[in-house]
Symmetry: C2
DNA sequence: CCAAAAGTGTTCCGTCTACACCCATGG
DNA sequence: CCATGGGTGTAGACGGAACACTTTTGG
């Protein structure tokens, strides 16, 4: 290696994935027991080192795919975390990514293989290193973004009821929303389409199923809830 | 080094500083000619490598201090940039930080020593590597933040007129603001204090000077413009 | 027949926006 | 005395928040 920057010291760089799901009306986080030293056995986000031949996004996607078997998930960078002692073993700089997935898409078997599980975000254990801080930042980001970006659909099946959608907003924002006002606003959004399908799993009467029309949104990507 | 993570490859990590100033009613960016290979002579943000004994924030502060001689500047992380080929020399991951400074605080001599200068953000040259992209992200971030955080004062002297303040908002948001509506809103904010000093440099009549009371803001850090 | 979730409008209030003229002063 | 930037108020539009009852149906 006849590099330009040889005199400077290199560091390890990892990516950590903050994976949110939505289940039983709660926002949940996917964590597992750390399988390597240092910190073996502690609750931790799922992560991995960045390889020489991949970008940060690629690394995050690889880690996500490895864990979930899913591709093209919604993903956003939360930030870089670089305190010297953040990792108890070595100096490691980590770039955190936040991903949203529909829990139904996640195969239970894979989950057990990797030893990870869903925990409610408002009842989270202590995590390895600065992972709690990363999660906190990710949630702050989510709360800001959900009002101006159609994120919520990534947490739901492709067909969903308005009640479900409202619960997603309530879970992320951490506050109750008036049903009538909520539905009024949703009706004005033309890329949230009502189907004539009815879901009877949650009530006797049944509720109409809706769908997020991504194409239509992309033609005019304006969203304001 | 008997490390835990020995088998993984390390990478270079740098910080790049996106330094904004406000002058002549325009938002400006501090850039210079790159003094090292590769890319020597190209316009570039000011940056440096992260050392083994400093956090990312420390590194950014060191670079900022080295360049400006100023400490405790307003600074926010913009994000980590890690495309494989982003640096034409080697694989370098860079963490960008956005800083706001009052151009009057910046010694002209230091500026010349480092060969940097202020350029208007809406008339920026092509920059080294992905620096234009970083700047674009930083501006997007600024625009969002300026509505909910009292950032603008970092770009102004400690005493400023309401016209100056309005021009900061206009420069960052890129749109004109109605003078009367603007001043009405400012009056409701109690941590923006009117002094009985008058600035006569910009008009014959003179304009009252105002001051940002940081203490008062921190007691009740709510800001909404 | 009743429990449980789905669905539906109106009123009020506060906030944002548009808009034009007088003031003070230095040169 | 006039050119220049500083400073002020009001009316109408709009959007957000509060609020309660009817419908459907499986068990």
């Amino acid at each position: 290696m006849t590099g330009y920057y040889g005199e400077h010291s290199k560091v390890w760089v990892s990516v950590d994935c903050i994976i949110f799901g939505f289940d039983h009306d709660k926002l949940k986080l996917l964590i597992g027991r750390r399988q390597m030293d240092p910190g073996r056995g502690e609750w931790s986000l799922y992560g991995g080192f960045v390889r020489a031949d991949e970008s940060l996004e690629d690394a995050a996607n690889r880690v996500l795919y490895d864990l979930t078997g899913l591709r093209r998930l919604y993903m956003k960078q939360v930030g870089a975390f670089g305190d010297i002692d953040r990792d108890p073993g070595e100096r490691v700089i980590s770039v955190a990514y936040c991903a949203l997935i529909n829990v139904e898409d996640y195969d239970e078997k894979l989950m057990q293989e990797h030893g990870v599980q869903w925990v409610p975000v408002d009842d989270m254990p202590q995590l390895y290193s600065d992972h709690n801080y990363m999660v906190k930042k990710a949630i702050t980001l989510l709360r800001r973004r959900i009002k101006s970006e159609p994120l919520s659909f990534n947490l739901l099946p492709s067909l969903f009821t308005l009640t479900q959608l409202q619960h997603v907003y309530e879970a992320i924002l951490g506050e109750e929303i008036d049903k009538r006002n909520f539905r009024k606003r949703i009706k004005q959004i033309d890329f949230i389409e009502k189907t004539d399908l009815i879901d009877k799993t949650t009530s006797k009467r049944g509720a109409y199923l809706y769908r997020f029309n991504k194409r239509m949104y992309q033609e005019e990507p304006i969203f304001k809830l």
